[in-house]
């Protein structure tokens, strides 16, 4: 049951990264790939029907973590205190930038919210990547099951660590590049005209950067947490995940070369899922690794909720999950094909 919940959390986190990931990518890129108000509204029309729902995957992920592994949520959220508030504030600014922008048809008003949208959308991937880096590197969890670290200390990976160091910044950069590339492919798929052309022109370079950073991060991980790769021979799932992310990367470049935007976009989705799944398979069953003493680490067995609650939760979750997929299927079907900027007052 604990293993099921571990993978459930991983699946929802991966869904969040893939789904809201293209919103962040589109936000981070839109100042460059969409120059006029009409082009920017085309970007907003592309993510408009989905972004709010995509964000719910984060809440759904937080929910299953809370329900399944309350100790991990409690330790992680209070331990990464300042970074969590940066996430909260970035999400807040991203949301109101999209919502408020369309309400007033005025150049300065819209320019301001465009900048807020771009800034918040760029910050989020860095924070998500740093979070991933922290999980891999480990944190100074003590016997009480808690820790608390500042934003940064000496930028090194040895205690006393901060949330940001050279390694977590590297993973932050990897995720920023990946989601930006993912967003470019989404926009290339959903738009036409100048926005489409600029995204297509930009994507190959972005994905070369992604590949280089992924390689660097893989090498760096071997230095920061050598034990991680020791799990590889015993984790067949990790091999499948690695295969998936390599195949995803291949599909991105193949799709770009052939001008098949959907294939490239699906490839970047597979790349993200593969990367996260490989990480999850290698860290299993540890969820928060203690750098003080392995005995203090929080894992799927010592941090989970009681078996009755896990079973009850799984029952309703299995009923709710298809419902959520149905909603998204409906939205994608309803808004299929290329988007056009909505008339003022008819959309974002």
């Amino acid at each position: 049951m604990e293993k099921t919940w571990f993978w459930l959390v991983s699946v929802v986190v991966a869904l969040y990264a893939v789904m809201d990931g293209y919103d962040f990518g589109a936000g981070a890129l839109h100042l460059f790939v969409a120059r006029t108000d009409r082009e920017r509204r085309e970007v907003l029309a592309a993510i408009g029907p989905y972004w709010d729902g995509n964000e719910v995957w984060l809440l759904a992920g937080g929910g299953v973590l809370f329900l399944g592994f309350p100790r991990v949520l409690a330790a992680g959220f209070s331990g990464f205190y300042l970074a969590m508030f940066m996430v909260i504030w970035a999400l807040l600014l991203r949301g109101i930038a999209i919502e408020f922008r369309s309400h007033i048809r005025e150049g300065l008003w819209r320019t301001f919210w465009d900048a807020v949208f771009a800034g918040a959308s760029s910050l989020m991937p860095v924070l998500l990547g740093a979070a991933l880096g922290n999980v891999v590197r480990g944190v100074p969890l003590d016997a009480t099951g808690f820790f608390n670290i500042p934003l940064f200390t000496h930028w090194g990976v040895a205690n006393p660590v901060g949330i940001l160091d050279w390694y977590t910044l590297l993973t932050g950069a990897l995720v920023l590049a990946t989601l930006t590339g993912h967003g470019a492919l989404f926009l290339a798929w959903k738009t036409s005209g100048p926005v489409h052309d600029r995204c297509r022109a930009l994507a190959p370079a972005l994905w070369v950067v992604v590949a280089v950073l992924a390689l660097l991060a893989t090498l760096a991980t071997a230095r920061v947490n050598p034990a991680l790769y020791a799990n590889l021979p015993r984790a067949p799932l990790a091999w499948a995940a690695v295969a998936l992310f390599l195949a995803g990367l291949g599909a991105v470049f193949a799709g770009l070369a052939a001008g098949r935007s959907l294939l490239a976009f699906l490839g970047s989705g597979a790349f993200i899922v593969g990367l996260l799944a490989a990480t999850a398979a290698c860290v299993w069953p540890v969820m928060l690794r203690s750098t003080l003493d392995p005995a203090y680490s929080l894992d799927a067995f010592n941090a989970s909720a009681g078996p009755y609650g896990l079973r009850a939760g799984l029952e309703w979750w299995l009923a709710g999950f298809p419902l959520a997929l149905l909603y998204f299927g409906m939205l994608f079907r309803l808004h299929r094909g290329k988007v056009e900027a909505a008339e003022d007052g008819e959309g974002y």
């Binding site: 964000e55 719910v56 949520l73 048809r105 909720a305």
Partner: protein
């Protein structure tokens, strides 16, 4: 003042109170919109469809602010209340996760369709989108109230070997009697807010003599729903809420009324300032027997005072709790009076010419927000000194490795952000009201 516990509590109290200004309006407006869309389908009249369109625009704006101010609260359980999350997450994580799965996905999917999709969907499907959003937002309310109800009156749990609370009976936890009563009371409060806001815009336009056809629809809908909601907030829902508090949190009831000594014919005081040090109420104006009646249904019932409970069980912010209760009940009574008067004038066909009543309706809209906030203060301060009633004290639930330097920083950050957010929201809503029912540049 200045300790870690104070800042954790202050921050959550502030962000939760600010957040709830928005959902109470969207949950109320969701009902208004469903009613208007239903009327438009049934009568086939453009004025109802037009009214729905205007309120959907306000709904969309309010919903957006509600979402971005609600997300912080979900995080703050973990960031600021880590020991509470660790010890109670196995139970309350259920309802919070269900809210995401069953309410938020429904809402986020249909919000865009409701706000932008009228042309694409046609009248029937668009009305269905309104219904879906109504269901989603009211379901969301239930999951939050059920979570809170566990903290007020824990049921369906067991205490595990490590001291944490674990789910033991899913049905009992989700259908907590406290949750049902509190939900009914909370939702009638939200309907009051929505109805007063709708009536206020109607009154404003009528007084100015503009958009009269639309204003008439708003006035009718707002006054009728406002009267129903205001009455239901007092009876039966407020009455039932009083009875569950009397039964499960008797010390809270005593503190709400500044009742120091036990005895029969317990009074409700119209005014009076509680002096906790000397254990008395200054210049009280009592209505004897009313508290006995609220609590137990008979004027002569014995109601225990604070003297019946050890001091360490007393709510810690007794003064604020006392005023919260009196503000809620006082305003609630005035709401019934105002809406009854307006409904009377409406029935006589004279509301649009009764300028004093219209002035009152126009200026009354902030007060339901105050009454709802005061009501939540009663619930949350009344629960003190417990985080989970009788099981976990508030002081034992904080993140104790987070130091005040971090919490003060994030509290100030919220203060700044929410000030800007609140001003922008008011500015945009005022703009919509000024632009009138057609909106700016919209067909």
């Amino acid at each position: 003042m200045g300790g870690l516990l104070f800042w954790h509590r202050f921050q959550f109290g502030f962000t939760a109170t600010f957040h709830y200004l928005f959902p109470q309006l969207t949950m109320g407006l969701a009902l208004v919109i469903v009613v208007l869309k239903g009327l438009a389908l049934w009568r086939g009249e453009e004025r109802h469809a037009g009214a729905a369109r205007f309120w959907i625009r306000i709904f969309g704006l309010t919903f957006g602010v509600g979402v971005v101010t609600g997300i912080p609260l979900e995080f703050q359980f973990g960031t600021n209340w880590a020991r509470f999350s660790r010890d109670a997450g196995g139970v309350i994580g259920q309802t919070l996760a269900m809210e995401g799965m069953f309410a938020f996905f429904l809402e986020s999917t249909f919000l865009g369709l409701l706000v932008w999709g009228e042309r694409r969907l046609g009248p029937r499907l668009h009305a269905l989108a309104a219904l879906a959003l109504f269901l989603g937002s009211w379901l969301s309310g239930y999951f939050i109230v059920a979570t809170n109800a566990f903290m007020q009156h824990p049921v369906g749990y067991r205490v595990a070997g490590d001291g944490s609370l674990q789910l033991a009976d899913f049905g009992a936890f989700v259908v907590n009697r406290w949750a049902l009563v509190q939900y009914a009371h909370t939702m009638t409060g939200a309907v009051v807010t929505g109805a007063f806001v709708v009536a206020a815009v109607g009154a404003f336009w009528t007084l100015k003599g503009i958009h009269l056809e639309q204003a008439r629809v708003y006035l009718r809908t707002g006054v009728l729903l406002g009267l129903l909601g205001s009455c239901a907030a007092a009876f039966p829902t407020g009455d039932q809420q009083g009875k569950v508090v009397a039964r499960h949190q008797p010390v809270t009831l005593a503190a709400m009324e500044g009742r120091w000594r036990s005895g029969p014919y317990a009074e409700v005081n119209l005014i009076g300032q509680p002096d906790v040090e000397r254990q008395r109420l200054d210049n009280p104006v009592p209505l004897p027997g009313i508290l006995s009646f609220i609590a137990y249904g008979s004027f002569s019932s014995d109601v225990r005072g604070l003297d019946a409970f050890p001091r360490d069980q007393w709510p810690t912010e007794l003064e604020l709790l006392y005023y919260g209760f009196h503000i809620m009940v006082g305003l609630g009574t005035l709401f019934i009076a105002l809406m009854a008067l307006a409904a009377l004038q409406l029935a006589r066909g004279r509301l649009e010419r009764s300028r004093p009543v219209l002035w009152c309706l126009m200026l009354a809209f902030p007060f339901p927000f105050i009454a709802n906030s005061a009501g939540w203060m009663v619930a949350e301060l009344g629960r003190q000194p417990w985080l989970v009633y009788g099981l976990l004290r508030t002081a034992g639930g904080t993140s104790n490795l987070v130091h005040p330097g971090q919490t003060v920083f994030t509290t100030l950050g919220f203060a700044g952000l929410y000030l800007v957010l609140g001003l922008l929201y008011l500015f945009l809503v005022a703009g919509e009201v000024a632009n009138g029912p057609q909106g700016h540049g919209r067909a």
